[in-house]
Symmetry: C2
Subunit: 201 residues, 2 copies
Amino acid sequence: MAGEIKQRMIDSTALLLAKRGLQGTSFSEIIEASGAPRGSLYHHFPGGKDELVLAAVGAAGERAMAVLEQLSGRSAVDVATAFLALWRSVLTRSEFSAGCAVAAVTVAADSNELLDRAGGVFRGWRHSLSDLLTAGGVDERRAQALAASLIAAGEGAVVLSRAERSLEPFDLVANEQLAVIEAASGGHPRHHDDPTRSDPA
Amino acid sequence: MAGEIKQRMIDSTALLLAKRGLQGTSFSEIIEASGAPRGSLYHHFPGGKDELVLAAVGAAGERAMAVLEQLSGRSAVDVATAFLALWRSVLTRSEFSAGCAVAAVTVAADSNELLDRAGGVFRGWRHSLSDLLTAGGVDERRAQALAASLIAAGEGAVVLSRAERSLEPFDLVANEQLAVIEAASGGHPRHHDDPTRSDPA
DNA sequence: GTCTATACGAAGATAGAC
DNA sequence: GTCTATCTTCGTATAGAC
């Protein structure tokens, strides 16, 4: 099916963006990584690299959204734990060579269109997380602040840990965030050796 | 003096890195921005772009360290407020077009040398902030986690606000972090309409 | 020590065959 | 619709004059 190869190109692009950043990701690498023929790239994406990157940012956003949707009905601590575990697994599975594609694109964006797409993804995450935290026992106003904090702290912690090539900063940040969420949600307890560390997938 | 022009090249590079990212920053732009003659670039930096970027990351690290050193003796909330205000002013003064040069380099680093430099900067910030928070009334172990959280949340919040081109996410995150610091330092109160917003410099 | 002109390579885009 | 070969642009680096 034609959609197969197209999707593989998008996914490969998202991964490369998360590893090397926007301008650090070349067409040649995408082609090699996806196994796609060079000619078909412009067939599927007439807009070239810009169009492909736009699609990859959207896909990265959707992937996280899909994870969040699975968490409906869980406690606030569970939700936060799962969200942080997602980022931790990105670090461990890539051996600190990958981070967040959306953030990587944001700090090197060369068009408003790209920035809009990235902003839309973050807005979506904030909204979804906020709803989940509210449902999980957090006051609605506070949930908005905690959702933004969770995303910001997670994103930042990934950067710190990539630079230091150590999980130490990420784990410090993750534990701190979980403690705050726990307190804000009325103290649903979490496991002692925090569940963030159980690698999913 | 020869050091003048060299410093201006470094500073221009740091600013461009914060705006456009690593590979998005070209030599031509640096030359234009710094007003330096093209020939003198390789005179001062025989190692070319790599050497210049390395220096710029170090300079960006030092600049924040200098701000932190001014805060010795202040309360934990004051320290956190000043640190967050620093990032908020980067956003407002650049109209959301700039972020953190160290983070931008980290997510697009193409050498271990560069990653090491960035990691060293973050370690330095963490250490310094942790000491300040401890002196400001926070338990020593907790101060390490709060220092990492403050940096991570600040970095992440800058990314969110750049992408959304709005201070909303940054302010949500900053207020949340300040509330946590306040609680952890024994409740030294902060102003009602948070002092993060008073732009320094 | 500063400048200009240029060489070299890489990356994105395109044209035309199959 | 898929592929290959090529064109153009741009960015880094260097060489050599002043």
